[in-house]
């Protein structure tokens, strides 16, 4: 189970990489494994404003559908269009080519966990 340092995590198993006022969102290795083979990612529209913990994307596997929640509030400025043709990138590279969206941050969340905290959270 990979949990890279330097990223923040949520209890819903999303990760966020914060660089200045830009945040990149994705789902954790644990999440992709629990979801199984991902077949479709419904990406948000560019320009949409999302609150922290608001569902901004939907990930589908063959037998399940999951809402994906925003770790922090912001405006969607970029989405990973690669996923339209290759949703399996979420399975193979959840922290890399499987990223989902980038936002311009408009607020921070106290709920985020460090990699160590997330590791502990998963063990519980």
């Amino acid at each position: 189970m990979s949990i890279p340092a330097g990223l923040k995590y949520t209890k819903e198993h999303e990760w966020v990489r914060i660089e200045g006022d830009i945040a990149t969102f994705g789902v954790s290795d644990h999440a992709q494994e629990a979801l199984g083979d991902i077949v479709f990612v419904e990406l948000p529209e560019i320009g949409r404003k999302v609150d922290a913990a608001e569902a901004y994307a939907v990930v589908e596997s063959v037998k399940a559908v999951s809402d994906i929640y925003a770790p922090v509030a912001g405006e969607i400025i970029e989405v990973n269009e690669t996923l339209e043709g290759e949703p399996e990138k979420v399975n193979t590279e959840p922290y890399g080519a499987g990223w989902i969206a980038k936002v311009k941050i408009s607020g921070h969340s106290d709920e985020l966990m460090s990699d160590d905290e997330y590791t502990t959270f998963l063990e519980e």
């Binding site: 077949v39 479709f40 419904e42 589908e60 596997s61 063959v62 037998k63 399940a64 559908v65």
Partner: protein, 452 residues
């Protein structure tokens, strides 16, 4: 009882193996106050097979039907020719008595047939994709409105008044418990109003509009150019939904895809399915590829098996209720599978040329009928496929004609007010298919000449 294999001794053996004495031991979990006495229901006693055949035969003989009359009725249900092979194929137990193909390894017959059906429907309608069918056209129309609302995230639905009144009332009813506006655009009821006035429809579109729904050919059989509407839909970023009632039309005239539809839905009853007093028929649902994940209903997709051989499965099931629950694309969890098999068989037998001949002869029949009308009866203006509205000088004249026609075993048309109570009681919706011969039209005109 001939459908129950157990003998009484089988039943006793089975009960004894479970330590039970009587059938009633199996029902002790139902409170005794709800038990009813065996045989106490107020129903007739069992009929033998011969008695059932006699009863149904007698009932059927009380009906007039397209087999012993000349049927000029349409309005969404059509008397087309059904080749014997179609009924043979759908009578085969392996198609007839199978369930939904949830175990694909032993359902490849149903699944490949569905894939062929989807392909042929997409080609006939000129659309990118088709689902594996809906109940029938009216509910398919309602589902198309719901789909357009999901795609556009807007809620207003604009419905042309020239769409089949039954499709309209079901759609209106489906939308009535949800937020959002539903507008029907009246087309007027002057004689020339039996058609689609696109300028009125376009005037009803605004920024909040999710989709515009038009029937093509419309309820009155009128065929018209949709280019203007496509432009208006693009400008308002709303979807253009084309509804149709006889899919064979598109072997002859411009298809919904060629007209630029985003979603096209309608009836496939004409594709090898008898009229059956209203059902079971076949609802068709097609759309552009980019909307496929918002399409309701079952779909069959191509894949491969563990040995790499081509095979088929039901797919995109995450759209369905058992996974998405209240967010599902529809509450429908079945299709008209056997009717898809009928339509696939029919289209295969017909091919392009046969389908075109069906449509051509249906239209030629109407053209011949209209050209032979006496002067006091008029038909609606403009291009018509295989149905139109005939207008009489008065209700009395029309009704006299209907009587004269009945004397000749002709069902001459549907009094329009039965379906659309806004119109004067002097119009008839008349339809011809390839089942109407030149001699039938002569008789029709002869009855007219007596009446008017």
């Amino acid at each position: 009882m001939r459908f129950l294999p157990h003998t009484d001794s089988d039943r006793t053996t089975m009960l004894e193996s479970m330590g039970m004495d009587a059938m009633s031991d199996l029902f002790t979990d139902i409170p005794s106050e709800f038990h009813i006495k065996e045989g106490s229901l107020n129903l007739p006693d069992a009929l033998s097979e011969a008695a059932i055949v006699r009863k149904f035969t007698q009932a059927s003989e009380q009906n007039r039907h397209a087999g012993n009359t000349r049927c000029f009725l349409g309005g969404g249900t059509y008397h087309h020719f059904v080749p014997a092979v179609v009924d043979y194929i759908i009578s085969r137990g392996e198609f007839l008595t199978a369930y939904t193909p949830y175990q694909p390894e032993i359902s490849q017959g149903t699944l490949q047939t569905l894939f062929e059906f989807q392909t042929m429907i997409a080609r006939l309608t000129g659309m990118d994709v088709s689902n594996a069918s809906m109940y029938e056209a009216a509910t398919a129309t309602a589902e198309a409105a719901l789909m357009a609302r999901r795609i556009t995230r807007k809620s207003k639905v604009v419905m042309a008044g020239s769409v089949n009144p039954r499709y309209r009332s079901v759609t209106q009813n489906y939308l009535s418990r949800l937020e959002g506006e539903y507008i029907e655009v009246p087309m007027g009821n002057k004689q020339d109003g039996f058609g689609t006035d696109l300028s009125k429809v376009i005037a009803a579109i605004d920024e909040a509009t999710a989709c515009v729904m038009v029937q093509y050919p419309d309820f009155y059989g009128s065929v018209y150019d949709l280019a203007e509407l496509r432009v208006a839909c693009d400008a308002a970023k709303c979807l253009m939904v084309i509804v149709f009632s006889d899919a064979t039309a598109f072997a002859l005239i411009r298809s919904p895809g060629e007209c630029g539809a985003d979603i096209a839905v309608g009836s496939g009853q004409s594709l090898g399915i008898p009229m059956g007093f209203g059902g079971p028929h076949l609802g068709l649902f097609t759309c552009k590829q980019k909307y496929v994940r918002q399409m309701p209903g079952r779909v069959c997709g191509m894949t491969s098996d563990a040995d790499g051989k081509r095979g088929f499965v039901l797919t995109l099931s995450t759209r369905e209720q058992h996974i998405r629950r209240e967010k599902a694309t529809s509450n429908i969890c079945s299709n008209q599978g056997l009717m898809c098999t009928a339509a696939a068989t029919y289209m295969t037998l017909m091919g392009d040329e046969g389908l075109k001949a069906v449509a051509q002869r249906s239209a030629a029949g109407l053209h011949k009928l209209i050209s032979s009308l006496p002067a006091s009866v008029s038909a609606a203006q403009g291009a018509h496929f295989h149905e139109t509205v005939l207008s009489f000088s008065s209700q009395a004249t029309r009704d006299l004609f209907l009587q004269e026609a009945r004397k000749r075993d002709i069902f001459a048309g549907i009094p329009l007010e039965q379906l659309n109570d806004a119109v004067e009681h002097k119009h008839l919706l008349v339809t011809t298919t390839e089942m109407i011969e030149a001699a039938d039209i002569q008789d029709y005109i002869a009855a007219l000449e007596v009446a008017v």
